[in-house]
Amino acid sequence: MTKPLKAISFVLVGLLAFSVSAVFAHHGNAAYDATKWITVKGTVTDYIWANPHVFVKLDGKDDSGNSGHWIVEGQNPVSMTQIGWTKNTFKPGDEVEIEAMPAKNGATIGFLGSASPTAPRKRIVINGKQFQP
């Protein structure tokens, strides 16, 4: 996609996001493509440990080269503690590789899926050390 088109569509997405009612959110899995997994590599810029969902913000790119501000989201904090996550799992500056389901609409957002301890867990590497599975 050419740069001007990308800029325009980014603005349009922003406007649309603003106009959509702020009250709902809970999209569940439907917004993500559960049939493919991508790996996002980059540097953590922020880590939100809060309801409704824990999410990691990073500057980086996926395996298709889609680069920019990425977000990878999980479940709520209580569920994430079941699989060993804490409020300290990520820090700004961490170099990470995270496997996630991509957003169907092409946004640079991925989803980690279920936090059930019995569900298969995908690969997460933090500063060269494997954190998950």
Partner: protein
Amino acid sequence: MAGIEAAGGFSEMSKSLAVSVVALLAGLTLSSALGAQTSASKAASQAAKPDKWNTIPPIKPFYAGKKSAPAPRRDLSGVWDAAEADGGRQPSGALEHPALIKPRGQGVEGGQPDETGIMHPLLYTPAGLEALKANKPSGPSVRQVPAASSNDPVSQCDPIGFPGMELYELRTIELVQNANQVIYLNQFYGNFRVIWTDGRELPKDPEPRWNGYSVGKWVDDYTFVIETVGLNPRSWLDHAGRPHSEDLRVEERFHRVDHDNMELTVTIIDPKFYAEPWQGLNKFPLHLQPADFDMQEFLCSPIDIEEYNKQVGNVVLAPSEKK
């Protein structure tokens, strides 16, 4: 530290404790030999103190084959967990009647929002079906709508209410008994109920409450029955948006099976909306946690929800960018 927390339970914790004590002694021996505290001994002395806060309950396989002491008489007290893998979370609706045409995980294609053909149908009255239509859930069920159209009040931090706290998402609860009450503390979105055991009758035509008005009594030494009325009809019964009228009566049966195990049965009695009573949970297993178990907090913040929507929720649901 996380490993010790995640292990949870009885024998796992004492095993970890034994290892930690050995490590501590080894550390102390080493440090006295060196005449100073080395980093190894520092780590060992920290490992010796298991973290008692924000504990994580074990998952279902932990309980397999565990033996328990006999049930104490007329005693519900303690922290009780609905083990994750037992299905306390109920994202497709009340466990005994999920809004699914196939077992969970096998998809919802072919399902109808009026629940035609679900595995264990509910007998809605015409009024019940009408009320059902107004509720638009976003979780995985035949009733699922796109998130942008969902009006699930819990997604906006409205009180979960009762029996939603048992049929929408049941995680961990704490029961405390005193002379004339059972106090029920609920982890999911932090709420509580008081169940009166002083023999009072249920109120007639009370002002509706999200958590209702409850009275309870022992029907035998191991079975405690609670009746609840006066429930605010704004609350959903479950994740599939099942409705209830202001005339709803709920019966809970807490059956103390043995010291470590309880079974919970929840019956919905609402002739205005359902032609027959139905069970949301039937002998659902609850597992007693150790006496020092501290429940993690799980509260809903509208400010956090708005921030999440702005950064993630709304962005991921916007229509596709043309590429």
